[in-house]
Amino acid sequence: MDILVCAKRVPDTSENEIELNRAGNDIERDDLVYSVNEADNYAVEEALQIADRTGGKVTVVTVGSDDDEEILRREMAMGAHQSVLLSDDAFTGSDGKGIATVLKAFVQKRPYDLILTGVQAEDGAAQVGGMLAALLDYPFASLVNSIEVLDGKKLKVCREIAGGDKEMSEIDLPCVLSIQTGINEPRYVGMRGIRQVASVEIPTLGAADLGVDAGAVGEAAAKVKRADYFVPALGKGAEMLAGSSEEIADKLIELMKAKGGLN
């Protein structure tokens, strides 16, 4: 089964505190550590495991700029067979539909049996997978936390719904699935693996290569635009305990006693 995984490079929130820049129009991007979006990495692992079982190749694609090549390399070090960067000035400022439109053009050039995305990007909206499916008229399932290949034509998928309940469905191929974190245990990628793919040529495709109408993507076509970033005025907020850690622990114990949590 040939599988396409759509991935995104994002600021890594486990490595950074996200703050506003001085102008307030963006987050402070100096010194940010970027990585592959966590859910997307689970999607790549899932694709690799399915390809191991069924045969076929895993391709990782991202829409972005040269900076984004690093996550494609990382996912190739993990085992993805190939990767493609979709990059063009015309794509800049695209909203979710714009990104999905670029991906649709790529898929139409070279069809896949299965397309995976992460459920949501850290700086995203859980939207591109569902949009891509609708543009391609493929079936779609979100929040998928297990996949069983039934035969060459359909899958049995489990969606994680409220309360941790598992919604089981059958879905026809080709389809688009958005993958929930925790579906598997993504394999470790060491420096050695990264070095092995360091010089692999990663093809870049632009609007003309893909046959994308530049007017249908990018800022001009975007109906949804981020105007600014801000940190909302806090409500009451927590009473912050200060002092030495011993003093803090004493105060906390008194508070928990008063609330009936310690006796």
């Binding site: 929130t13 486990s14 859980a126 409220a162 305990l241 310690l262």
Partner: protein, 327 residues
């Protein structure tokens, strides 16, 4: 102003809480709006839901179809595309169903889509000004959304307070005839309920809850020792379950358990809305996190900026000393 529709989720013949929240949100778009409820389903349950909605919505569109007895987003999308007028604004809850439905619906309606909206700052001409969050709630953004060809907006649960208005005595309009046979590439089979865990965190009065800040599996013992000293149980947030360091039955949040303890110690938990959605009954929340900007500090009663790997063992020792003295 475009006509506003609210997609109503329901269970067991009763509309979800989101039904009243969507009606309130419609008034944030247009103070004079009279939003229309759209309900899909089958049988007497569907009729009961429609009847109940007459108190909140002046018009309730009922779409009855045997294939919609279970809410399959692909089938519902096809039904909505058939009945919705061009340029409509559609409101839906941002949850496991809305995430499944709305992005694709927006494509088929050629409408704008914004997910997880937390506030609506009103309209300017054909633009709506919306608020949403990024990076797990660490920062918010204003979003300008062009609604000239309609919009689909997924709204965060709990973000819009239901209006306290007298029952409107709405009427139900049966739109079922406009929706003929529906076929989907995805077919619902069954719902499996997860097995109960060794500890029922929904019944525990005190929870020591750990998040990403616990860093590795071996450190879970640090939280367990504190919980043992306090007579509490250990629960956790999603990343701990994703990493397989604790079973799913210990997860607090919208896709885990809903807990209602007296005291909740959030240790190394950033405080995403999905996590907070699992906390009910106004517990006394203590947040311990080394990131002073962690969103959890906005909702906690008491906050401590510290590395839990250092602070929890110290707290455990103090609790043990206290217990010795009191015995």
């Amino acid at each position: 102003m475009a006509r506003i529709f609210a997609y109503i989720e329901h269970k067991g013949g009763v509309a979800e809480d989101s039904a009243a929240e969507l009606a309130a949100a419609a008034r944030k778009i247009d103070a004079n709006a009279s939003p229309t409820a759209i309900v899909t389903g089958w049988g007497t349950e569907l009729d009961a839901v429609c009847e109940g909605l007459r108190a909140t919505y002046a018009e309730v569109w009922k779409i009855a179809n045997a294939s919609l007895a279970y809410p399959n987003a692909e089938l519902i999308r096809k039904a909505l595309v058939k009945v919705l007028p061009a340029g409509s604004i559609v409101l839906a809850p941002h949850d496991h169903f809305g995430i499944d439905l709305s992005p694709g619906l927006s494509i088929k309606l050629n409408a704008a889509f914004v997910s997880d909206v937390t506030a609506i700052d009103g309209a300017e001409g054909t633009y709506l000004k919306l608020v949403r969050q990024e990076f797990g709630g660490q920062v918010s953004t204003h979003v300008r959304c062009d609604i000239s060809s309609g919009a689909v907006l997924n709204l965060r649960g709990g973000a819009f307070k239901p209006l306290d208005t007298a029952p409107v005595g709405g009427h139900v309009i049966d739109k079922s005839a406009e929706v003929a046979d529906l076929v989907a590439g995805r077919r619902y089979l069954e719902t499996l309920v997860p097995e109960a865990g060794d500890v029922d965190i929904t019944k525990e009065p005190v929870l020591v809850s750990i998040g990403r800040g616990i860093q590795e599996q071996d450190n879970v013992a640090i939280a367990q020792e504190l919980a043992d000293a306090m007579g509490a149980a250990v629960s956790c947030s999603r990343p701990v379950v994703d990493a397989k360091w604790m079973p799913k039955s210990r997860q607090v949040g919208s896709s885990g358990q809903t807990v209602k303890p007296k005291i909740y110690l959030a240790c190394g938990i950033s405080g995403s809305f999905q996590h907070l959605a699992g906390l009910k009954g106004s517990p006394f929340i203590v947040a311990i996190n080394k990131n002073p900007r962690a969103p959890i500090f906005q909702v906690a009663d008491v906050g401590i900026v510290a590395d839990i790997l250092e602070f929890l063992p110290e707290l455990t020792n103090k609790v043990r000393e206290m217990k010795k003295v009191s015995v």
